[in-house]
């Protein structure tokens, strides 16, 4: 990876600043700051319970963060001064010709997808199981179709404008189905699809909302090596051909190291490393906190067995 090409410092699409999330007495995310570069595939990694999904839920509006700012620069570059002004002014977003910026922590979850352009998938796949693959992708184009159908009235009357829009939506859905290799299952209910296909369908569905930032929560979990490789190809295609920035949580180091332009490592809700894949791979802190130790259980077993490992106490470690 080219050391000079650090998109996330020069052109961030998402800036998370001093994000803190507290659940009662539990500090899940602790003063976390990071940037996601435009057009990058960024991986968020860390041991179980490091707070990755919580970060995701804050970015996509499912949780309201206790503290911090999450700014999404949809297009163009907005200066830090303008952003500060927006923050002070109490607004949710600013849309202008020279750049739009959205303060996600202030917005409702559906608004974040609808107007800021952030789409996501879920760790436990959340498809509309009783609806077909095609229908799933049509639901994702709801807002567009809603406008085209004149908020239902035009659609009820069967106006041509809506019919055209419905055709276009179906074409788009078919295109994505072809891309994720599910076209022959288009009329099958989503719950009938095999696991890997469901994962792909969920990604296709998220993409049908026309996002600028796609958040994937463990997209490779449960996939076999071949499916994993296909996923990598798909993600690269999304980045390169559609210009969508990708933020993903992943445990599969093969996937992370192969496709990520930028890797952020969390442990106990704090960032312990941030850089390119190769930088992170060689970071002693990461090796100690993450790569050597897969999860707390192993950690405990090792401690019980008194195995001498290169453990340094994780920063902010609460155990």
């Amino acid at each position: 990876m080219n050391q000079q090409n650090r998109n996330w410092t020069t052109d961030p699409v998402l800036s998370v600043e001093h994000l803190t999330m507290r659940f009662g007495g539990l500090l899940a995310v602790d003063d976390l700051s990071f940037d996601v570069g435009r057009g990058d595939i960024t991986a968020l990694i860390g041991p179980n319970g490091a707070g990755k999904t919580t970060v995701f839920n804050c970015v996509t509006g499912f949780y309201k963060p206790t503290e911090g700012r999450i700014a999404l620069r949809r297009e163009g570059s907005v200066s830090d001064a303008a952003l500060a002004e927006l923050t002070r002014g109490g607004q949710q977003y600013r849309r202008a010709d020279d750049g739009s910026v959205f303060l996600l922590e202030r917005m409702a979850d559906f608004k974040i997808t609808e107007i800021a352009g952030v789409a996501r998938t879920f760790q436990n796949i959340r498809l509309f199981g009783g609806m077909t693959a095609l229908e799933n992708l049509l639901v994702a184009q709801h807002n567009e179709l809603m406008r085209a159908s004149g908020y239902t009235i035009g659609g009820l009357l069967g106006l041509p404008g809506y019919r055209r829009a419905a055709e276009a939506a179906k074409e788009k859905a078919v295109e994505w189905l072809r891309r994720v290799d599910l076209l022959d299952r288009a009329d099958d209910p989503a719950a009938d699809l095999p696991y890997g296909a469901q994962r792909r369908l969920e990604i296709a569905r998220a993409l049908c909302t026309n996002p600028v930032l796609l958040c994937l929560d463990e997209p490779a979990a449960g996939l076999n090596p071949r499916e994993s490789a296909e996923l990598n190809t798909l993600l690269k295609y999304i980045r390169d051909e559609h210009g969508v920035s990708v933020l993903l949580i992943e445990h599969d180091m093969g996937v992370v190291m192969e496709i990520s332009d930028h890797v952020i490592v969390l442990d106990y809700g704090k960032k312990i490393s941030d850089g390119t894949a190769s930088e992170v791979r060689n970071d002693a802190k990461v090796i100690a906190a993450y790569l050597g130790v897969d999860d707390e259980e192993v950690d405990e077993v090792e401690r019980d067995l008194d195995v001498k490992t290169a453990h340094t106490p994780a920063p902010g470690g609460a155990l």
Binding site: G130, V139, Q141, T152, L156, P189
Partner: protein
Amino acid sequence: MANTTTSASADRPEGAERLSEDRREAMRGEPPFVEAPSEDTRLVRALKEAGVTAGLVAVLTLFFFLFRTDIAVGGLDLSLDPKSWIIAIAIAFAGRFLLTYFVFGGERPTVGGWKKVAAKTARWPIGKVIGVVLLLVALTLPFLLMTLLPSQDRYLLDLSILILTYVMLGWGLNIVVGLAGLLDLGYVAFYAVGAYSFALLATNFDLGFWICLPMAGLFAALWGVMLGFPVLRLRGDYLAIVTLAFGEIIRVVLLNWYDFTGGPNGILGIPKPTLFGLEFSRGEGSFSDFFGLEYSSIQRFVFLYYIILALALLTNFVTMRMRKLPVGRAWEALREDEIACRSLGINTVNVKLTAFATGAMFGGFAGSFFATRQGFISPESFTFIESAIILAIVVLGGLGSQLGVVIASVVMIGGIELLRNLTGLQAIFGAGFDPTQYRMLIFGLAMVLIMVWKPRGLVSTRTPSAIYKEKKTIGADLVAQGEGH
């Protein structure tokens, strides 16, 4: 989400879940290598089971068959009726014995034996054929009745009108419960709002049925939004109890606001509908006069029949159409997974409100039709039992299925009416036997039995709203049931 619900949603994908459950069910019985029970043990077992059942029935009915409390001079009196108690026990014993001995083959019936999962079959063409046939029958029914059963035509036509009213209410509620997956136990509130709006507008401002009908629908929709807005954030059963509460509140208000609603006396003298100003009465300017026909009171029934048929078909048409529009698809998506909906930028509050308002509007239409048909309304017509019957029609018919609602309405509403006429049974049970007394008793029992027999309703497949190549129906086991699962 509460713990019970998270575990349910964590079990997705549901197909696999269903499969594993079926496997578990299959393994529940005796292992296959056990020999079939010999004749002897089978008899003993059956006798034992029957004895237990009879004992249970004896305890259950002890204070209902054996002891009867009667009001007597100076308080209550207790009378004994051992005959019917013993008969009940004997019936229970014999019934259980026969069932166990012959049907279950001496085995204890397992839960799995009752449960049948609807197979995923492409039943769609049959459904369509039935639909077309039903539509043709519905369109020509008044004439069929008049020619085939002239002696009973008025009664049967009136019954058809009643059934169609429930079909319409069922279709309206189907939008809320079947498509959007929101459990509404107070649907009768909108029926009442529609009826009272029409009645009050008509009696106070002298407006006709056709002007009041859309207004009543709009009022009901407005109430739907007003009631829905604060409560739609609630989930599942909380929503159910609050809608039930709203239904009761509206009824209590109607009952007690004498000046406005006439209290328990209700509203009298609600005008009948007219056909472009032609009344269905005797004399000058009436329908029969205008067309040079001989006056007959059945003309009004036929007219009312076609009004409710048209209203019901309108409901069906709009619903079917909306299913293929983004809003309808969003309803179904909401039923499947609300969180996923929000992640796709769908404003779920708006989606729920449209479902609530649309359903309420059709309820309002049905309500004003009810008012004009009866000519009189009172709060008594809008009790919780009505909501329960409408919900039962929707669930028994099969959630989200338009055809199912029709079948369930005919079976349940027509069935109750039939029971009213079973006077022939008096020959068996003696002259004191009054079949109307047992009407609701059998109705309740039928609800239980049909549900146990077909938990997913009579028509339990879902038709996709959009197709790429080939239309495949979706088995009910894959379709979610909305909020709280």
